[in-house]
Point group: C2
Amino acid sequence: MADIKFEIKQTIGTLSESPKGWKKELNLISWNDKEPKYDLRDWDSEHKKMGKGVTLNAEELKKLRDLLNCIEL
Amino acid sequence: MADIKFEIKQTIGTLSESPKGWKKELNLISWNDKEPKYDLRDWDSEHKKMGKGVTLNAEELKKLRDLLNCIEL
């Protein structure tokens, strides 16, 4: 992971925080200088270490929003 | 990954499908016989191979829904 270049363009929000300070966040991130994508993953408090996650484009995020609005949570 | 036991309890929806047939899905999955969690990741067409992803509990998914309803997509 060490050599992946990334830049967090926008922090959209935090979903949760663990006792150790890791946060599950939705961000807009540019990976390796490419076009920014939405990204859902865990981060340490300094945004230096990251956990596994998924990247999503706007279309996928819209479908996710529509799904979440249809189910009982 | 081969020895992780999982059971897809419910397929909530598909966000996208790649030309090779991989789908980005939101599922309710029990990992290693534990309590099912919401799970967002890529799967091959037979649900045998999986990509990286995130698991979320209901609270995190609610926050995600609320976030997605607040932003312009």
